[in-house]
Amino acid sequence: MPAPWRPNMADTLTIEQSGNATVQDLGRSGAARHGLPVNGALDQYSARVANVLCGNDEHAPLVEITALDFAATPSADVLVAVTGAPADLTVGGVRHPRWEPVAVRRGETIRVTGIHRGLRVYLAVYGSVQAETLLGSCAPDTILGFGRSLRPGDDLALATHCPSIDHPVFRHPLFRMRPPVPRFGEPWTIDVTDGPELAEFGESAHRLVAENFTVTPRSNHIGLRLQGTVPQRVAHGEVLSRGVPVGAVEVPAGDELLVLHRGRGVTAGYPVLAVVTTASLSSLGQTRPGDTIRFRRRTVAEAVATHRAERTTIRALEGRVAAVFESLRLPVHTGRCARDRRRTASDRH
């Protein structure tokens, strides 16, 4: 990495209104061996796209804004991208498109308000923000007590100085990167594949795909609790604790579904009825309490194909962004995190 542009005067993003926001990335891969959850952005697709739209590595730290209004002001000209659930994005009071790069001049306030038909919005900044890491990731771990919610007055240091974008061309809606935008809001269709213990639920297993389920308020990044006519386990006996994947669908107490998400403990002692597909985990991470969910059964091969198609889409977007940024002489930072994610001096371990 070249020497910082201005080593003693890092550009910052000052949080004006924090709502419920944290600095996130795609998660702590490799942490499972330490018995720790992967964590990371609950809508991985939106997080990846936000970073890619800024020319960042998709693993770069970015801001995850959950449910509540958010505002922040950069100390220098920057490029940002806002993705995720539908919301109003304004910069200096002017509305701007989401899911596209947006040029922001120093001192202009970026506001995300009125999040609806989903729960989480992602704000990426050109060059990314700096964040402390644990095992190579800045993703908060609420059980370990790592990471914290942003507060008004916090200054996030920007990792890279953005080349000047004070040029007339940037003041117009310049970019048309057109990443595919998922459908947000009810009815949510969540794809699942059969779990290894599906047979333990006998005939009642089909209720998972036949019935509607409602997201309860006791849902979070660790797991979503869903009400409905739940399948009942017919087998008996205690299950020895074993590793469970993100997306595992369990029926712990017999009266509600528990769908594990990225903050899940790595082991559990309940049979796994089904597993939410990687692609659908992003949608599941956007569901709000009270929302209705319908599960749809898929084969593993179909789920893998969907995931690969999504990655191909993101790679294609990376290519378009690189071509456009190059023509504007904006360096891109794709691939940087693969190197940075190896232990860095700032990592706690």
């Binding site: 330490h34 771990d141 205690e238 074993r242 712990p252 082991t267 002692g269 597993v275 690969r308 990655r311």
Partner: protein
């Protein structure tokens, strides 16, 4: 040597490997040796199973199955002697620190004292690091039967809580929700952000009963004997 293990799909990005050959000790050895052998993947080895996680955009279930099977074929047929360290863990049993001790005693048909004696009578072997937060998951004490999980899990279990369920035992390192009956609590800090789990599978925990008024005398950090 495919008969040693069974591999099942577990969603689009994981397989679960179950060791099926030999006794519980051997199955545990097999899944932990496999986890070590496939270091390039995220792996969660527990008692007799191993969850292997991967990115299905860059590999697939069949390729991972092949790698796991090849690793299984290379495993030595005799157990590998592992260095086992001993940790001494003072515990205040019962009362506010172990609110489920009476319930567990009743379920097992033992007195509370007998439950404590069995829990602290012999060292318990750490079998894996699990939820929450890399907790040491151990073989349970020699109880006459499995201990049922609580019908209604607690929303907040204090750090250092010593719990049992089924035929397993655990210490919760961090405040977290939990459905395992609580027998007691240690004043020791089990782990923190600057020092993740100091123990590893195969280590042994010797629990030692202490009185509530000795809590402060035993406060400190969990560490293996003889450094």
């Amino acid at each position: 040597m495919d008969e040693r293990i069974v591999i099942q799909d577990c969603g689009d990005s994981a397989v679960i490997v179950t060791a099926v050959e030999g006794d519980a000790e051997r199955r545990w050895e097999v899944v932990h040796a496999l986890a070590t052998a496939i270091e390039e993947y995220d792996a969660v080895p527990t008692y007799d199973s191993l969850l292997v996680e991967f990115d299905c955009a860059t590999t697939d279930h069949e390729a991972v199955r092949d790698i796991v099977r090849a690793a299984a074929d290379r495993l030595p047929s005799a157990p590998v002697q592992r260095a086992s360290r001993r940790f001494v863990v003072p515990v205040v049993y019962g009362g506010e620190h172990g609110p489920d001790l009476p319930l567990v005693a009743e379920q097992l048909g033992l007195t509370e004292r007998e439950v404590v004696e069995r829990h602290s009578g012999t060292p318990l072997t750490v079998r894996c690091l699990g939820a929450p937060a890399g907790a040491p998951m151990m073989d349970g004490p020699p109880f006459p039967k499995p201990v049922p999980r609580l019908a209604s899990p607690r929303t907040n279990v204090p750090p250092g809580s010593v719990a049992v369920a089924g035929r397993q035992a655990v210490i919760s390192p961090m405040p977290s929700p939990g459905g395992w009956p609580l027998l007691g609590r240690t004043p020791l800090r089990v782990l923190d952000l600057d020092r993740l789990a100091p123990y590893r599978p195969g280590d042994r925990f010797q629990f030692v009963p202490i009185e509530p008024d000795q809590w402060d005398d035993h406060a400190g950090t969990l560490a293996a004997e003889h450094g």
